[in-house]
């Protein structure tokens, strides 16, 4: 019973995060729309932003682009199917905000059917609970859970409005959308894409095996961008990919290399919180056993220099044990 109640609490919390995220996304969407209308679309490609001296036709096109951006990025109550084409066009033109919004909404809609089914099951189980032997505390918890179900129903309805009519062809663009956002510098998309790549959407993957080659060809540039921007998530992904025996996609791209493994592990260790030090030192010691003293010295120097040059904050706080690089899936507030 306690286990069940914990499960309920967890699922309610999850639904709460989704619901809260949804409303935050709506509010943020309005702000973004405002920014977009004033020409601040977050685009990295500024060629259509209507600078002084731009010919009339171009200025008109720029205004049209801004209007489309405003609409596409506006409140989430506009179904994704109605914003999809515009978001995709903007993302392809280098608008990182649109790219982020697109993969975020697509991912949410991909998950919606599962969340919906879980919610229904949970509601059925809860409503079927025998309350006859509950004490007052349990009854209070039970009432809280019932209230949460009701509140969740409203939020889920809004999510349905967002996702209704999203086609299979649109869903198939989840991974390319994620890739595009990652290429445009979205750190969350980059970590998720490098970690899961086409595996994020198996259905799309089966239809598009070419996603594999795209993963291979884009990973290197993303890794460099992540390291240059001091992204601890990138360091953690790399140390795991280089760890002996790893069979992930990223491991397949970077290959086996004990030296690289030591380097990234060392860098990660330099940024670690004190409570993780012993564990990481033990791993470093084992990794060093395969290297020559000169290799270790070089790697240590590289790690120190890279830390000073690019990184701040703590590695282990950014990437707590068991972190999920694709956890944005549940967080609608992010765009």
């Amino acid at each position: 019973m306690i286990v069940h109640r914990r499960r309920y609490v967890f699922l309610f919390a999850l639904a709460g995060v989704i619901g809260a995220g949804f409303f935050l996304a709506q509010s943020l969407g309005s702000k973004l729309a405002g920014r977009a209308a004033s020409g601040e679309t977050g685009a990295t490609d500024t060629s259509t932003t209507g600078a002084d001296g731009v010919p009339q036709g171009h200025a008109k096109a720029a205004r049209s682009t801004r209007q489309r951006a405003a609409q596409a990025l506006a409140d989430s109550h506009i179904p994704l199917k109605d914003r999809f084409a515009d978001l995709q066009a903007l993302a392809n033109a280098g608008d990182v905000t649109a790219a982020r919004r697109l993969y975020h909404d697509l991912n949410l809609c991909t998950l919606l059917a599962g969340v919906d089914a879980d919610n229904s099951r949970l509601a059925d189980e809860l409503l079927g609970t025998d309350v006859g032997k509950m004490d007052s505390g349990q009854l209070h918890d039970y009432q809280t859970q019932l209230d949460a179900i009701e509140a969740r129903g409203t939020n889920m309805q809004k999510l349905h409005t967002l996702c209704n009519g999203t086609s299979r062809q649109m869903f198939d663009t989840l991974v390319p959308s994620l890739q595009q956002a990652a290429k445009l510098g979205d750190a969350d998309a980059r970590a998720c894409y490098l970690s899961r790549g086409p595996n994020l959407d198996m259905r799309g993957f089966l239809n598009h095996p070419e996603f594999l080659e795209e993963y291979r060809s884009s990973a290197d540039a993303m890794i460099k961008a992540g390291l240059a921007s001091g992204d601890w998530k990138m360091v953690d992904l790399l140390r795991n990919a280089y760890q002996p025996g790893t069979q992930s996609l990223l491991a397949g791209v970077v290959g086996s290399d004990p030296l690289q493994y030591y380097r990234y592990l060392k860098l990660y260790r330099l940024g670690a919180e004190a409570q993780r030090a012993d564990e990481l030192d033990s791993q470093l010691k084992a990794a060093a056993a395969k290297l020559a003293p000169a290799q270790i010295a070089d790697s240590d120097a590289w790690a120190q220099a890279t830390l000073r040059q690019n990184f701040s904050g703590t590695s282990t706080e950014t990437t707590v044990t068991g972190w999920d690089p694709c956890s944005f899936a549940y967080d609608l507030a992010e765009p």
Binding site: T110, L111, L112, A113, G114, V115, D116, A117, S120, R121, D124, E125, G128, N199, D201, M202, R203, G204, F205, L206, P209, E210, L212, E213, Y215, R216, Q243, P244, G245, T246, Q247, S248, L249, A251, G252, V253, S282, Q283, K285, A286
Partner: protein, 328 residues
């Protein structure tokens, strides 16, 4: 007269050889788990480019007449790889199973060594000063387990010595081959994970995705025909709304199919699972018309009676890992 003697001798030899091969062809195949007393392999070491042994057809299975025993259990894979692969490709089910299991062990070896090495260092480095008698006993048990694990690991190292990446890349095709030849464990694993079992190799072999797509349907049919509850469990999960795995990607969302397989699974369930499954069935039925529900119920009932026996929930309990044999 001079011609007839050699002719008679030749005809006699042909008759003897024909009788020999006829007898050999009709001899019973060795059991799948047969262990050889003789490590009599003459296979050359190390195929650099493992062939795709995946596309064995029923014809090749029917033609398979190999009755030679499998190599000894601990025979180094580098020596047996080519022979096992050739035999598997010719439809030898026991060889296919053996190859997939050996490759599974070797694929896990590097990560096992790494994890066990770290755990051993931690254990040996632990200070025993101040431990109570009970703690010391526990510590001794942990040390004994570690030694046992290291002995097992040493056996795997011997098995896998000089097995290169090209051989390891044959893991998924070997599981597919074994599955096609009737290995039920391999079938469940392949349907569940397919090429994603070894994502690293998939990068170099995107065609494995198409192989999966082509092979899955006949494996599903074979599993249902053989009354394999694990296939029912996999399909129930794959058709579930929002399912994300490879099999889900292949079969696509379908509320009717989800209900059908869930119903079949429920018919074979142990009593203590019934309430939970009935609740799931009620939720699944909510998306269907009464006619669809009735049709699905009839299908499940007749399929259950025709092909299935034993409890579904024992064969495929919630949370089971279809690739446990390949992942350790």
């Amino acid at each position: 007269m001079n011609y007839r003697s050699p002719l008679i001798v030749c005809v006699g030899l042909v008759v003897v050889l024909a009788a020999y091969f006829l007898g050999r062809a009709q001899a019973p195949l060795p059991p799948a788990d047969a262990k050889s007393e003789v490590a009599g392999t003459t296979a050359s070491a190390g195929n650099k480019e493992p062939k795709k042994t995946f596309a064995a057809t029923n014809k090749t299975i029917a033609r398979a007449t190999s009755s030679s025993a499998l190599p000894a259990v601990d025979a180094p894979l580098k020596n047996t790889f080519a022979d096992l692969q050739a035999r598997a490709a010719a439809g030898d089910a026991a060889a296919a199973t053996r190859l997939s299991r050996d490759l599974g062990r070797c694929s896990r070896l590097r990560s096992s060594l790494w994890k066990n090495g770290g755990a051993a260092n931690d254990l040996v480095g632990r200070k025993t000063d101040g431990m109570t008698e009970a703690q010391l006993r526990t510590y001794q048990i942990l040390l004994d387990s570690m030694v046992q694990r290291q002995q097992e690991t040493q056996k795997t190292k011997d098995l896998c010595a000089d097995v290169d990446d090209a051989m390891l890349a044959a893991l998924v095709p070997s599981i597919a081959q074994a599955a096609q030849l009737g290995d039920v464990d391999a079938r469940a694993c392949y349907l569940s994970r397919g090429p994603s079992l070894d994502a690293r190799t998939l990068l170099d072999h995107p065609e494995f995705l198409q192989d999966y797509r082509s092979a899955a349907s006949s494996m599903i049919d074979a599993g249902l025909g053989a009354g394999d509850w694990r296939v029912v469990g996999l399909l129930t999960s794959a058709y579930e709304p929002g399912a994300q795995g490879l099999l889900a990607g292949l079969v696509g969302a379908d509320p009717v199919q989800h209900y059908r397989y869930l119903k079949l699974y429920r018919l074979g369930a142990e009593p203590f699972r019934a309430t939970s499954l009935d609740r799931q069935l009620a939720a699944a039925a909510a998306n269907l018309t009464p006619a669809q529900t009735a049709d699905a119920d009839a299908w499940a009932q007749s399929t259950y009676e025709k092909n299935f026996k034993g409890p579904s929930t024992a064969a495929a309990p919630p949370g089971w890992n279809p690739c446990a044999f390949a992942e350790g």
